[in-house]
């Protein structure tokens, strides 16, 4: 993917927080959650693979996000599931910082 989508400025997402970006803007199957974990930015599909929950509202720590509902844990790097009750991972998207812009490159297989 050549062009990414600028979703926010670096200062818009505080350390330990997530931001939900609508699928209408990203053109993807699911909304995308963008996280700031200690100054590093990551993007995952927003909907937990267990039930309906927005991972952008989760607890972000040490390279992982904990689902706000039942605390299933996902790796921020690749979306892999690290603990029950979820049994499947979520898709990860590449993030690039261009100046002070957070640019997300949606995974090709998650485009709508």
């Amino acid at each position: 993917m050549a062009d990414g989508i600028e979703v926010a400025k670096v200062g818009d997402i505080a350390d330990g927080e997530g931001l939900k970006v609508s699928r209408i803007r990203t053109g993807t199957l699911d909304d995308i959650a963008v996280f700031n974990d200690g100054g590093a930015f990551f993007a995952l599909d927003d909907t937990c693979s267990h039930e309906e929950a927005s991972l952008s509202q989760g607890w972000v720590e040490d390279g992982t996000v904990e689902c706000p509902l039942h605390a299933a844990c996902f790796s921020l790097k690749d979306g892999a599931v690290l603990s029950l009750p979820a049994t499947k991972g979520v898709a990860a998207h590449r993030v690039e910082i261009v100046g002070d812009a957070i640019v997300v490159h949606p995974a090709a297989d998650r485009l709508a």
Binding site: G16, Q57, W59, E66, L69, A71, L84, P85, T87
Partner: protein, 458 residues
């Protein structure tokens, strides 16, 4: 004792505790045989049974803790649909109901519990349900056609969630509990009051008391007909009955004024204040009895649960117990209550795996749980009763949101409960586990960040 590399592990019970143990053993490199015996058709997760899976009438596959592929990948000998009928602790074997005898180096009892029933006239009727298994949930769902009226007895976590899910599928719900506001010890008075009020706000008929009897529908309302408990369910000898906590006086009838049953209602439930309610089904949500039968028969120490030490060892070498059924003895020799929460079962399984592999298990923090009902998410950590002071953090926006409740003891957090504010509890959990000093003023101030407190402590 740690397990030899090729050591054989037989796990009785494929709920969360047993499955977590098996997964963690494999993740930790154990290559020996692992068998899991479970009487149910799949290794199922239970929380969704009173929530989304109930409302959606989800197939059992959606509740499976392990897919068939994953079972194969892990190399687990999965004995679904089989009952373990005997445990020979000395010979270290487990016998199944098909006669198979499984020899083991380590036997793990992860038998969970079964729903407690109450003794009352008519209590054996097929219209009286409990909720522990997938089959239980299906049976209740089948009884809960739109317009059906269901009496839920017990407004604890499962009773409350089920009342919400029954409303969601269009059933009429009457909810009865002996406490005017249930769950105060678990969540504190303020949150308990908010949660209990949600039932009435969602059209549930909320009563205080218990069930005294269930009478046959066709006799209900006939003043001269003798009270007749519903026929006992054939072969319902599902073990020992515990006497109900409910008042068991005979049903009160007031000749001439008894209500006429709505057409089609299948029975009359009599409450212990004499109130009569025409119902189609009754669900008891009054707690569980730990699955200790095998352990007792094998001569293990049992006291409302299988008694274990901090390393999950029962009173007999080579036999362990984890999850809802285990009752760990505290360092001072006392026996605290069993933990009956989901995460504790998972962590037990993972910790025992580490122990069997000869590693130190991860330190265990304060217990964490959740409950979902009426579209809100409740979660809690630690304790909300006993020593200490309850501190409330009111929502920033007075019109919306819910307070977060904390228990502050000796300048440290001991517990927290929130509604739709999970990150407050996630932060509290870490503050508790790290023993970070906190003050009532900080906790009560909605503009102070709990996360900043944690960062400052790092």
């Amino acid at each position: 004792m740690s397990l030899a590399p090729g050591g054989r592990v037989v796990v009785i019970g494929g709920g969360l505790a047993g499955v977590s143990l098996a997964e963690a053993l494999r993740a930790g490199g154990h290559g020996g045989p692992i068998a899991i015996v479970d009487r149910e058709p799949a290794f199922t997760d239970r929380p969704p049974l009173s929530k989304a899976a109930f409302v959606d009438d989800a197939p059992i596959e959606e509740l499976a803790l392990l897919t068939p592929d994953r079972i194969a990948e892990l190399g687990i000998d999965a004995r679904h649909g089989r009952n373990a009928v005997a445990l020979d602790a000395a010979a270290r074997t487990v016998e199944l109901d098909d006669g198979t005898v499984l020899p083991a180096d380590a036997i793990v009892l992860a038998t969970g519990g079964r729903a407690r029933r109450l003794a009352f006239p008519g209590g054996d009727s097929p219209l009286v349900h409990t909720l522990r298994t997938y089959a239980d949930a299906r049976a209740i769902r089948a009884a809960a056609a739109p317009g059906a009226r269901i009496l839920v007895v017990g407004a604890g976590l499962i009773g409350a969630e089920l009342a919400s899910s029954l409303r969601a599928v269009g059933a009429d719900v009457v909810l009865v509990d002996p406490h005017p506001v249930p769950l105060v010890p678990a969540v504190g008075g303020r949150i308990a009051g908010i949660l209990h009020a949600m039932h009435a706000a969602h059209g549930v008929d909320v009563r205080v008391g218990g069930i005294a009897a269930l009478e046959d529908g066709e006799h209900a309302g006939q003043a001269d007909a003798p009270s007749r408990p519903l026929a006992s369910r054939p072969g319902s000898a599902d073990g020992a009955r515990t006497p109900g906590q409910e008042d068991e006086r005979p049903p009160l009838r007031s000749p001439g004024s008894a209500p006429v049953p709505a057409p089609g209602r299948r029975a009359t439930a009599v409450l212990n204040d004499g109130g009569r309610i025409e119902v189609d089904a009754v669900v008891l949500g009054v707690g569980i009895l730990p699955g200790t039968e095998l352990a007792e028969a094998a001569g293990l120490e049992v006291d409302d649960g299988i008694v274990v030490d901090a390393r999950f060892r029962t009173s007999v070498a080579g036999v362990y117990a984890i999850g809802d059924v285990a009752r760990p003895r505290a360092v001072d020799g006392s026996l605290p209550r069993r933990d009956e929460h989901w995460e504790a079962a998972r962590l037990d399984g993972e910790a025992l795996a580490a122990i069997l592999l000869g590693q130190e298990p991860a330190p265990r923090g304060a217990g964490w749980w959740w409950s979902d009902r009426y579209g809100v998410h409740v979660e809690g950590v630690g304790r909300m009763d006993g020593d200490g002071e309850i501190v409330l953090r009111e929502p920033v926006d007075a019109g919306g949101g819910y307070p977060v409740a904390f228990l502050l003891a000796g300048g440290r957090l001991a517990g927290a409960v929130s509604i739709d504010e999970p990150n407050a509890v996630r932060a509290a959990r870490r503050l508790i586990d790290q023993g970070v000093p906190v003050t009532a003023t900080l906790l009560a101030d909605p503009s102070s960040s709990l996360r900043d407190l944690l960062r400052a402590a790092r």
